[in-house]
Amino acid sequence: MPKGSVLVVGGGISGVQAALDLANSGFLVHLVERTTAIGGKMSQLDKTFPTNDCSACILSPKLVECGRHLNINLLTLSDLVSLEGEPGNFKAVVRQRPRYVDPTKCIACGLCAEKCPKKVTNDFNMGIGKRKAAYLSYPQAVPLKYALDPAHCIWINKPGRCGVCAKECPAGAINFDDTARDHVLEVGSVVLAPGFSRFNPTPLDFTGYGRLPNVVTTMEFERFLSPSGPCMGHLERPSDGKEPKKIAWLQCVGSRDINRAGHPYCSSICCMFALKQAVIAKEHSHGDFEPSIFYMDMRTHGKGFENYYTRAREEGVHFHRARVHSIIPSPDNQGNLKIRYVNEQGKVNFEEFDMVVLSTGLEPYRHTIELASMLGLELDADNFVRTDSFNPVATSRPGIYVCGAASEPKDIPQSVVEASAAAAEASRILAPVRWTETSKKVYPAEQNIYAQAPRIGVFVCHCGINIASVVDVAAVSAYAGTLPDVVFSQANLFTCSQDTINQMISIIKEQDLNRVVVASCSPRTHEPLFQETLRDAGLNKFLFEMANIRDQDSWVHQREPEKATTKAKDLVRMAVARVRGEGALPYNTVAVTKAALVIGGGVSGMTSALAFAEQGYPVTLIEQSDMLGGNGRKVFRNWKGVEFLPFINDLTARVASHPHITVKYNTEIKEASGSVGKFSTTFSDGRTFEHGVTVMAVGGEPYKPEGQWRFLHGVNPNVHTLLELDKKFIDDDPTLKNIKQAVFIHCVGSRIAERPYCSRVCCTHAIDSAVKLKEMNPDMDVFMLYRDVRTYGQRERIYQEARAKGVVFIRYDLERLPQVSEKEGRLIIKCHDPIIDAHVVIQPDMLVLATAIQPRRQSSTSLAKFFKCAIDSQGFLMEAHMKLRPVDFATEGVFLAGLCHYPKSMEESIAQAKAAAARASIILAHDAVPAESVTAVVTAAKCTGCGLCTEVCAYNAVSLDDNGISVVNTSMCKGCGACVAGCRSDAVTLKNIGNEQIMATVDAAFE
């Protein structure tokens, strides 16, 4: 029998996500982290693109959950030193270096650091500023335990000397004789998420990095921006602490460079990273701030990225399509930097900046390379872990999976998708031993507060500077203390951080609180975290309210601090009034139907279905056409040259023959009802299918060129779209060889007003097609008319290969579209080459249009109705959170994968499909899932039996019993309150959101 546990190496966002998915679906996880705390590079970020969320705010809930998860054994300061065995039965030896602080005793009071005399460069802040030898890597670290730095601690190096921390520590947690320990772990699978490191620009002398203090890397600049950074979020430049007014970002430092930096690939995230920093820096500085970005191609190819780029332009970020040779100190004013650049017309410009930020690229982490050689894993030409074209998380050794930037430079959403996909793969062969090595969470006994007078505790949050920079948090906290029934009020720097969470638990017990109000950010993101804290303190989790004084106050009234503070006081008073009237509610659950419905028979749909089936769950896969494969069948090969058709045929065969999968062709959904755990869907053939989870993989469709983007498509026979050209490749069309000249036009229908998004894959697809044509006939002239070449990540290799084969790239923009005309059937294309400022005329035998990918609008909208999921302005399905829940919908139990989410490549769709299955199998792994506790309840005496409530209820959860009194079925009730608003005799109310609570809240707004 295989082992029911998994080893996850690496505690960054990818490792943490994989660990949570695995632990929540029934496996014991050993999470091995090299440093003293999990969070990885993301914890060093101030804000994250494209949502501008504060990184800590969306990361700490996951870290706190991971830190306190019963089935995650967190091993910090640890490395995997050896691994034997085969899939299902691995024996891993993990060496844990000494922390010199006993985690069970340390209460993170910080006295050891305060008193420690030894100053050390703070590598969390990228070497800017100092920390002590006794240290905590960052304020919201998980686990929140101090550690002694063996390299610098005086006592450890010369025993008997210093030892101040041991004297000062109130908990006696310091232990100088702490030694390394080896843990022998028997696990079923291994997931590697060791992350990446940033390119060190010092060897590039022309950047002046390392000699000119005001030349910094993006990671260092991020620490300047961060409120927990060296200068608390106020921008001060290193040389003289002055607030910089003009900053330049230089792109592609260490990437797309085969001369000095030796990295031919594109690091895929630096463009968005620089854009975000420019926008956020502009927000930090009050008044005139001029950010400029020097780039080759602006690569904003992810979901919501192109909008972000457009908004950055509107907000005054200057863009120069020019790379810079050298950065030199300005001769006249001290500390400034002078840049000479040439714009595209060849005009020489000089400009001076207060600071220059180098967008340094990503590199394989040297520990990953050591780890890979120890485990015998193959690396690719760039030293990243080699993965399979059709299984992006599988390494060359079975049973060991990889996710995150260790296999290719990628952004956080893609790393999170791959983490869940790796969880799916890791748990595939362990399905039979689910829940065998895990333990159940036992909550303390719940205190009955029914008879008690309200004793309310209020916790007001600074959220770093996000709230505190506008709202006077201390005043609000003091004011809260004066409110009736409020017996405790406290302000915190980060209420969602683990130490404050633990503090809350003890405060609730010590102060004997029976209701809690947290004034901080939005309940939509943080309510579950705080409700869990109430349960850990023995309090019913529904005795809780939040006052949203950040997203709905400090962030939106930044220029009116006093009014924002008064509003904050009102919101706290309203929350207190609301929580006062609330009572404890039961924890209802819904039994889970252990079956899955997958909608859409393309590659994503099939991959999800297989992932479910291989875990032993029955799946029904419905496809509207009569064939599986979807768009996958129309595409020829990926950029690595691997043809798709053999893979798709094999996948189709496996799906069609798998005992657990029922495929229904020519099937649509007629009607769907129910919610997580208990959906029931009726198909067009009238049959109904009960299932617990749903995965939507309805795919997308190519844009049909029209209007000014038609370029004679459908008029001249030699004009094709990429898919039409692929058809010729698949059919091995002999005429292609004797084409003398071919022209491709990029961005046909994408990145324009009607479709303000980038279709992500057409650059790679078009360039690969050009390379294919050149392979067939090297003497063929091929021209690519592009706006920005977005061959992100290692796809940059195909772009370089195309250029090497003589493909000519000519840039166009919206002001000067290529003109396509024909004379006696011959195509004539006129465009303008900006470099030599000349008009170019080409008369090709073939014109290929890289058309946009758009959503299947009618099928997405109709499905969204059935399953209540949101659709974005472009018609793509809208995930719960763009960054950290990229495969879930806001509606529980429904997941998405493939083109219907956003255009993506085949392997990215495969990763998302496996991820959707992994996230869904968390629900299927449980026999019951929590159902709505906030349900309606009828006071029989008041009910006149008019039946209005039964008519308005969309879930027919209300019915009249035999003597005409209405009764609510709590397992069906979703708590929308339509019946309560409709009832004329105030007979039915919604628990905790009754008319009294709402009216009390409204009245509280006016005291």
Binding site: N259, A261, D781, A838, V840
Partner: protein
């Protein structure tokens, strides 16, 4: 292609300015020639990012910069490249290649194009310097004059400066440890500048010698772009030093 009169009014400075290029077919003969001759030419790798132009002091001269130069090559505008006087503004200093992400050495193609110009169309006294170089040295003074000037200046120094009476400036001393080359400018125009060097070598006390033939270290045939001439002169210099049997060749720059 049309001619654009240059500000200076000097006919030689008119520049060919592109207005409309017909790329059907695309005949980039020069590019193909360079690619066959120089395997890692990488002309096509160019990303047109402009980094070279931003680092080149000769950008925006004769309407040209390293990026445009490579672009004209890629788009087959060979006549313009053959005729541009920018060939003599680019000093082949390789600063473009130093930071270019694709490591393209633009100067290498400038060198080739300079060599392709028929000798009579090359700038007069640059070509003349190379011809003289092939005879003896870049300024063309007879070897005997060089030997005489060295001797004369040596005697004058020893006479006027008592502490340097034992100063030497050996010529054709077989078996000397160091061979010293000598730029032709000093003996031709500023002979006294050579004395400083002799004094230093004397103070250090090393065993050195000039040669009476092929003594000029310069090589204008590199600048005129003629590989055969450049080789001829270098080979002559090498033979001279080997004939004297000196193990170390000191370049006075």
């Amino acid at each position: 292609m049309r001619l654009q009169p240059s500000a200076t009014g000097n006919f030689l400075h008119w520049r060919y300015v592109m207005t409309e290029i017909d790329l059907s077919p695309l005949r980039a003969d020069l590019k193909k020639l360079f690619q066959e001759k120089l395997p890692n030419a990488r002309i096509d790798y160019c990303l047109t990012c402009g980094l070279c132009a931003s680092g080149c002091p000769a950008s925006d001269i004769e309407g040209m910069d390293p990026r445009k130069f490579i672009r004209y090559l890629a788009l087959g505008q060979d006549d313009l490249l053959r005729n541009t006087n920018w060939l003599y503004s680019c000093s082949i200093c390789q600063r473009c290649e130093y930071a270019c992400p694709m490591g393209i050495n633009v100067g290498r193609f400038v060198y080739e194009l300079k060599g392709m110009r028929p000798k009579e169309l090359r700038p007069k006294n640059l070509q003349k310097s190379c011809e003289l170089q092939k005879e003896s040295n870049s300024t063309g003074i007879p070897n005997a004059d060089f030997v005489w000037v060295v001797g004369d200046v040596l005697e004058e120094t020893k006479a006027n400066e008592p502490e340097w009476t034992d100063l030497t400036a050996p010529i054709d001393k077989v078996g000397a440890q160091f061979y010293l080359n000598q730029n032709a400018k000093e003996p031709t125009v500023e002979p006294e500048e050579m004395v400083f060097l002799w004094k230093i070598l004397h103070a250090v006390g090393i065993d050195w010698t000039y040669s009476s033939e092929w003594w000029d270290g310069a090589n204008y045939c590199l600048f005129s772009g003629d590989p055969k001439d450049w080789e001829y002169v270098t080979r002559k210099q090498a033979e001279t030093v080997d004939a004297l049997g000196c193990p170390t060749y000191i370049n006075t720059e």
